[in-house]
């Protein structure tokens, strides 16, 4: 088991090194001149040259790559052309809001996707099954930036059921100020017993989380259905059936048991996808997370910031997959032998 975990970790380190090189290569492809952007629109030639020296762009590519690795190891991840702050400190400021949004979305995706998948597998080929499959395929076909706008229009602007944007009602900052402990608003409100704020944060979280949940929910429903259908014919499940367990238990407890493993793998996968999908949603809901930061960096052509966010999400994604691999191997000894 330890050998397996160590081998996976070593491979992950190699992949991360490759990811860093690839982001560096993408940065070198950039047609514009980062030094000119850095120095500003009215800079003289000498100022641009100074900026180029300062940014290290006058050195050979190999030296720059080493410096880039060094900067990542030292924890600055380059300096944002736009905010002039180290990219990593920018990311640390905005990441909790996005993680909160993505985790909420994955919870929604699980509590809708798993029951839908089970229900669909109950009578394959029947109208209910076709209906649920159509809905789950609709979920993975959703242009979520559009869904965000539509839900905002319908539920916030027309029906006035939910707030349109932001993380909480700004007025509460005066009456019920939020004490920062973890950086996650919902958790901070919960542990400090700030119920007013908790209600407000949850209300604000709901619409964007539903939008981000569309894709993972559809995917999870499809995977649960496929897995359960694969295992329902196996002898141990037949046995449970013959013993007279109700169908609910046969599906929900025994057939589903084998489906949790692929669902866990899917969660690691969609965790990364959903972080990227926040790029398309946060801006609409004025959610101050990675997505808004990335969208702002894209519109200002802030290459170090874009690559920093890219690198950060790729790292999170690699680590999430590594964790799931190891947990799966711990739960299922057959995987270790592959």
């Amino acid at each position: 088991m330890i050998v397996y975990a160590a081998r996976r970790a070593a491979l992950a380190v190699l992949v991360v090194a490759g990811v860093i090189v690839l982001t560096f290569v993408i940065a070198r492809v950039v047609p514009g001149d980062p030094a000119a952007t850095w120095a500003g629109p009215h800079a003289s030639a000498a100022q641009v040259a100074a900026a180029r020296r300062f940014l290290g762009l006058d050195r050979p590519a190999a030296v720059q790559l080493l410096a880039y690795f060094g900067g990542i190891a030292a924890g600055t991840w380059g300096v944002s052309v736009h905010t002039h702050q180290p990219v990593l400190s920018d990311i640390a400021t905005v990441a909790p809001a996005s993680l909160e949004l993505v985790l909420a979305a994955l919870v929604i995706a699980l509590v809708t996707g798993v029951p839908l998948g089970l229900l669909s597998a109950r009578r394959p080929g029947r109208p209910l099954d076709h209906g649920i499959r159509a809905v789950s395929i609709l979920g993975v076909s959703m242009p979520i930036f559009w869904m965000a706008l539509i839900l905002q229009l319908v539920f916030a602007q027309r029906l006035r059921l939910l707030p349109a944007a932001g993380e909480f009602s700004p007025g509460l900052l005066f009456t019920h100020p939020l004490a920062r402990h973890t950086g996650f608003d919902v958790i901070d409100a919960l542990i400090t017993g700030n119920w007013q704020m908790l209600g407000s944060t949850l209300g604000h979280l709901l619409l964007p989380a539903i939008v981000v949940a569309a894709y993972p929910a559809g995917l999870i429903a499809r995977i649960v259905r496929a897995q359960v259908l694969d295992t329902i014919g196996e002898t141990h499940v037949q046995m449970v059936r013959a013993l007279g367990f109700p169908e609910r238990a046969v599906f929900g407890r025994f057939a589903m048991k084998l489906a949790w493993n692929p669902v866990a793998a899917t969660l690691a996968l969609v965790f990364g996808y959903s972080l990227v999908n926040t790029f398309l949603v946060e801006d609409v809901f004025d959610w101050p997370g990675l997505g808004s930061y990335a969208a702002a960096s894209i519109s200002t052509l802030d290459t170090p910031a874009i690559l920093g966010v890219t690198l950060f999400i790729a790292l999170v994604y690699v680590v999430a997959n590594l964790v799931v691999d190891i947990v799966q191997a711990a739960l299922d000894p057959r995987i270790r032998l592959r």
């Binding site: 395929i137 609709l138 076909s141 242009p143 559009w146 539509i150 996808y273």
Partner: protein, 298 residues
């Protein structure tokens, strides 16, 4: 677009071919619906100049006195912020998204297929090198790498194609490699080698055909994903530029007027959803039909 590709043997059925196909279609109404939707989209793309009430509005035309008109008898889907007919632009948009998807998938296939065949057939260090590079590309969520590439390249539809194709090929390399590796060690390939048949012939005649069916299924499953990715890039301003009637760009442009003029955003978005939905239904149904382990006919 993200399910791990699994090896898929070709449909083995005891029924005569036509009958099996008819039954397969009857048991799979979603496939029929997806197919019909896809045909409709292609038809709209082909006949857009005939169907569109104001073909000029798909281009540079502007009508300062018709700005942001709600849906009416004359403009069924209303007009946009420079007075162009939304219906005409949505219809012309059918010429862009599916075409981008086809080009992206062909490029991804042209890169992924030979690399996968080489890695799977030859094995050894070549396999290691190709697959480790593939792993690095797969360490990015697909939209992320496409976004990073599109962000550093000048915004255009060509950039969209390059960015997505560069993200997509590793999936096909991995899929084809798995297929090729699984047959490369079989006795009949050994005997081909013993008979002195050239490598090119072995790969082309005996390895490649085993990889084609799963590859086609995966590509049909990916059309919807590529369309969504392309429209997302255009939404972020990294892809199509005005006056191109790209659906993602139309949603993005309508965003500022959305609270008062809902139609500018709503209809192009429905077009994206409909197209991605139709192709995803089609791909999903094709997989069911070609993968006997997943059919309902047993």
């Amino acid at each position: 677009m993200i399910e791990a590709p699994t090896p898929m043997p070709a449909a083995a059925s005891r029924l005569p071919r036509g009958q099996a196909l008819r039954r397969g279609l009857a048991a799979n109404p979603l496939l029929v619906a997806g197919g019909a939707g896809a045909v409709l989209i292609v038809a709209v793309a082909v006949f857009a100049p005939v169907l569109a009430p104001f073909p000029g509005d798909a281009g540079t035309a502007t009508h300062p006195f018709l700005v942001l008109r709600p849906p009416s008898a004359q403009h069924w889907l209303g007009t946009d912020n420079v007075g162009r007919d939304v219906l005409s632009r949505v219809l012309y948009g059918a010429r862009i998204s599916p075409l981008i998807a086809v080009i992206v998938l062909l490029i991804a296939c042209a890169i992924g297929l030979p690399l996968g065949l080489a890695a799977g057939y030859f094995g050894g260090w070549l396999d290691e090198v190709i697959m480790r590079v593939t792993d690095i590309f797969l360490a990015f969520p697909p939209l992320l790498l496409a976004l990073a590439l599109a962000a550093v390249l000048p915004a255009s539809l060509t950039t969209v194609v390059i960015a997505i194709a560069a993200t997509w090929w590793p999936w096909y390399t991995r899929l084809v490699r798995g297929q090729a590796a699984s047959v490369a060690g079989r006795p009949y390939i050994e005997s081909c080698r013993a008979l002195g048949i050239s490598r090119r012939k072995i790969i082309g005649r005996h390895i490649l055909p085993n990889a084609v069916t799963p590859l086609i299924v995966q590509m049909s499953l990916d059309v919807g994903g590529v369309i969504l990715t392309a429209s997302a890039l255009s939404f972020l301003g990294l892809g199509a530029q005005d006056p191109t009637p790209d659906w993602g760009l139309m949603v993005s442009e309508g965003q500022s007027y959305f609270t008062t003029a809902w139609w500018v955003v709503t209809f192009p978005g429905i077009a994206i959803l409909f197209t991605a939905f139709a192709f995803n239904l089609l791909g999903d149904g094709l997989r069911d039909l070609l993968d006997p382990r997943r059919t309902f006919l047993r």
